[in-house]
């Protein structure tokens, strides 16, 4: 009886949500295929290879690590987007360019410091400030410069976020989400080309060949990549503690739920909005700097190009959910990296966007849907 009940419930679910079922079957097939590839097994049917193949565990580990790196940086950048999305109720299209701006300011400070410490050799201050020189920067060689640059990137992004909120978004507090979205498109365009005006459109090389670290005698990665993973995980943990155990977190959740009710209960909504920009902006700037550190280059539109991935992460995790942004970021990163097992590597970005669209269509609330700002 229990079995038939389960069966009939399963049939009803399949009829009501065919998309979900198809998705689940596809996921199961891909997992099976991956497992068989890892084990080096192949399944043939009428002479056609259906599943399996071979992929080395080393190659798989590298792919997974790359995915994790992208995921942590995207997740870190996504927290700010998720917070503004839930508290101010708009999709901030300028988020990616805030990330770029923070990263550029951070690297300018890092280069300046490198110049002061005499780590740059014989270059003029002008070339240094415009990121035209290539000093020997890296977390192992010059930890002080990297940390100072990272903090500067965070501070710069906070300042920029607060300034933009003051002149662009605050006058629009009572406007609907779409007006704010369109305004943020304008902000994105202005910021991006302001950066291009000052720094030109060529890509800037910001690190020298990074030194490698080896963990557990097995996994080898660059020190910069390791630093990104450690700082990213640490900051995510910090945000978790902040939102879970302080009054601020509670106030933010209240505001995300119902702004008017929050104000009635005495929550200083404007101050919470400011703190939202401060936390989100800071994390975004740091993420931008670390992405630059890991990739070794920054360019005027790298945040803009990253924006859709960040959106994918935030939506995947559920808008307004901080953990969602973290988990979503990692899922998007890993999906993007792992999809090259099946499809040409030039289409991995497309795969991440397909995941984004599928999530929006099948489960628009995301993985952590219904839980806002925590």
């Amino acid at each position: 009886m229990g079995a038939t009940e389960t069966y009939s419930r399963g049939v009803r679910f399949a009829v009501e949500r065919p998309g979900t079922v198809i998705l689940a079957v596809a996921m199961a097939l891909l997992s099976l295929d991956l497992l068989m590839k890892l084990l080096g097994m192949e399944l043939f049917f009428l002479g056609v290879k259906l599943l399996g193949g071979s992929i080395g565990t080393d190659a798989f580990g590298t792919v997974l690590l790359d995915g994790l790196t992208v995921g942590v940086s995207v997740g870190l950048a996504g927290i700010g987007l998720s917070m503004t999305y839930s508290i101010l109720s708009f999709a901030n299209f300028a988020h990616g360019d805030t990330l770029t701006a923070g990263a550029f300011m951070g690297w300018v400070v890092a280069f300046g410091l490198a110049g002061l410490l005499g780590a740059t050799g014989d270059v003029t201050p002008g070339t240094l400030v415009l990121l035209e020189a290539t000093p020997e920067i890296g977390i192992i060689r010059t930890p002080l410069i990297v940390v100072v640059g990272m903090v500067a990137a965070g501070v710069a992004a906070v300042g920029l976020s607060l300034l933009l909120d003051r002149i662009v978004y605050r006058p629009l507090r009572s406007a609907d989400g779409i007006s704010l979205l369109i305004a943020s498109i304008g902000v994105a365009l202005a910021l991006r080309y302001l950066i291009a005006f000052v720094f030109q459109t060529s890509s800037k090389s910001v690190t020298s060949t990074p030194l490698q670290v080896t963990l557990l005698g097995q996994i080898s990665m660059s020190g910069n990549q390791f630093f990104l993973l450690v700082v990213g995980a640490g900051l995510m943990l910090g945000v978790h503690v902040l939102l879970q155990y302080t009054k601020l977190g509670k106030a933010m959740r209240a505001m995300a739920d119902n702004q008017d009710l929050a104000r009635v209960t005495g929550i200083p909504t404007e101050r919470i909005v400011r703190l939202t920009w401060i936390i989100g902006g800071g994390l975004t700037g740091v993420a931008g700097f670390l992405i630059g550190l890991e990739r070794g280059v920054v360019i005027f539109n790298f945040g803009w190009l990253l924006l859709l991935l960040i959106f994918a992460a935030v939506i995947l995790g559920g808008i307004g959910s901080i953990y969602g942004a973290m988990v979503g970021g990692i899922v998007v990163g890993v999906v993007q990296a792992m999809s090259q097992i099946w499809i040409p590597s030039e289409l991995t970005r497309a795969a991440a966007f397909v995941v984004l669209i599928v999530v929006l269509l099948v489960k628009p609330d995301g993985i952590f849907g219904g839980v806002t700002t925590a």
Binding site: L130, A183, V187, A188, L189, A196, F353, I357, P364
Partner: protein, 454 residues
């Protein structure tokens, strides 16, 4: 009987006057762009002024036509139906590539070029609209039930997916049922473009009908010092303006039809429209498909004009430019869409770019600083010229900063744009006027839901 007759004639006259003055507004805007550009040409380069003016006018006309067509198509989505589609670039890409694949030669002359189906241009244009509308349908079926901001993200992601697919090596050349065709991947695809075909037929320095007509009345355009490519461009610009007029007419008729009134009702309040028994989902899907078809066609006529296309043309930037043009003109107004397209293309996009080319040539040699650090350093020494030179030669970037600031300003201060304040009621009669009081101010009820100036 006579009362209705006179009312009808009054209405006709009124409509004529309104459309007349709308046409005048558009013409004045475009004329202002031309006057400014010709002024720039004569001021900065008097020797080559005639040819330079022709260069300016042909490119800016093509820009205006392209932006106006796309803005009109987007107006059907956003202005009329309230569908927040920011995947314009993707639908354009589908249109242009459909035309390219259909019209590319079966056996290309150059080795390694991507073959196509070798169909004539008209088939390519129909294919462009059809392919874009099919992709629009595939998008609309699942996506239109989403919230506006989710639809925005889905469409922009879709446009990126389309661009990445077009860019992919996997689709660059495929063979299906013995027919070999493809996108050409990152290196793009060559085909017979509409501009050489249409404008080349109309204007050939010796044999075309336009040249023939001019020579017949004793005017020889070959003596004006204008390059033949500029003549071709100008003729094609006119072709695009005619196409824009066609778009305008189509959308004007659609907007004032029962179909269009339902769209406006959906924009205002979808629940009410559904309560009145309208299948709003079907209406939205149809409107989305028509808009996408127009985007595909506009893309084919504009971006695809020269006979070559590659994926880099379809970055999301173009989508946002079209959106900004629509907001400048005022969402919901077709006339506003055309004016917004012209203002954006002429004053914000093309003019600054050309100024950035001619002004540095007019400054003393080596006046502009190579980078902004040197410029600011010189400023400290009291020399403003390096900074001015640097700013002017980078004006093509600064114009986007200005466009962004203008967009924010418009949203804050004038969310209706230039003409968005015009009311196009969703009802077939003007419900703001009570019966009996309608005639007192001499304003007839707009029985056809037509545009009225405030």
């Amino acid at each position: 009987m006579s009362a209705t007759d006179s009312e009808r004639s009054v209405r006709g006259a009124l409509r004529e006057m309104v459309t007349d003055s709308d046409l005048r507004m558009i013409a004045v805007t475009i004329a202002a762009v031309y006057v400014l550009l010709v002024g720039v040409a004569f001021y900065f380069d008097p020797d080559q002024a005639v040819n330079l003016s022709a260069t300016y006018i042909q490119s800016v006309t093509i820009f205006i036509g392209g932006y106006a067509m796309l803005t009109l198509a987007l107006n059907l989505h956003w202005g009329y139906t309230g569908l927040f589609n920011i995947g314009v670039a993707g639908f354009m890409g589908v249109g242009v590539y459909a035309m390219a694949v259909l019209t590319a030669p079966v056996n290309p002359a150059t080795a390694g070029a991507t073959p196509g189906f070798g169909l004539p241009l008209w088939a390519g244009l129909i294919g462009a609209a059809a392919a874009a509308s099919v992709v629009g349908l595939l998008t609309a079926l699942p996506a239109l039930r989403l919230r506006a901001d989710y639809l925005a993200i889905v469409t922009v992601a879709l446009s990126e997916i389309i661009r990445l697919l077009l860019n992919s090596q996997a689709l660059s050349e495929v063979t299906v049922f013995g027919a070999t065709f493809g996108t050409g991947g990152a290196s793009g695809i060559n085909y017979a473009g509409p501009s050489p075909i249409i404008a080349g037929t109309l204007f050939d320095t010796l044999a075309g009908p336009v040249t023939g007509a001019l020579l017949a009345v004793g005017v020889d355009p070959r003596t004006w010092g204008i390059r033949p490519s500029n003549f071709e461009g100008m003729i094609y610009g006119v072709v695009l303006l005619v196409a824009t007029a066609g778009f305008y007419w189509l959308l004007f008729r659609t907007g004032n039809s029962p179909f269009g009134r339902v769209l406006k009702a959906i924009r205002e309040d979808e629940l009410v429209a559904r309560s009145l028994g309208k299948d709003t989902r079907m209406f939205k899907i149809k409107a989305f498909m028509v808009g996408c078809a127009l985007m595909g066609l506009a893309g084919a006529l504009w971006f695809g004009r020269g006979g070559f296309t590659s994926p880099t043309q379809f970055r999301p930037n173009i989508t946002f430019f079209v959106f900004i043009a629509l907001i400048i003109g005022g969402a919901g107004s077709n006339t506003g869409s055309v004016i917004g397209g012209a203002v954006f293309a002429g004053f914000l996009f093309y003019l600054p770019q050309q100024l950035g080319t001619v002004i540095p040539q007019a400054l003393p040699q080596g006046a502009g600083a190579g980078d902004i650090a040197a410029a600011v350093a010189a400023l400290g020494g009291g020399d403003v010229l390096p900074l001015v030179g640097y700013t002017v030669s980078n004006i093509s970037r600064l114009r986007f900063v200005a466009i962004g600031v203008i967009l924010v300003w418009l949203i804050q201060r004038r969310p209706d744009g230039l003409l968005g304040h015009r009311t196009e009621p969703a009802s077939s009669i003007d419900i703001n006027q009570r019966p009996g009081t309608g005639g007192t101010d001499g304003r007839p009820a707009a029985a056809d839901g037509g545009e009225e100036r405030e």
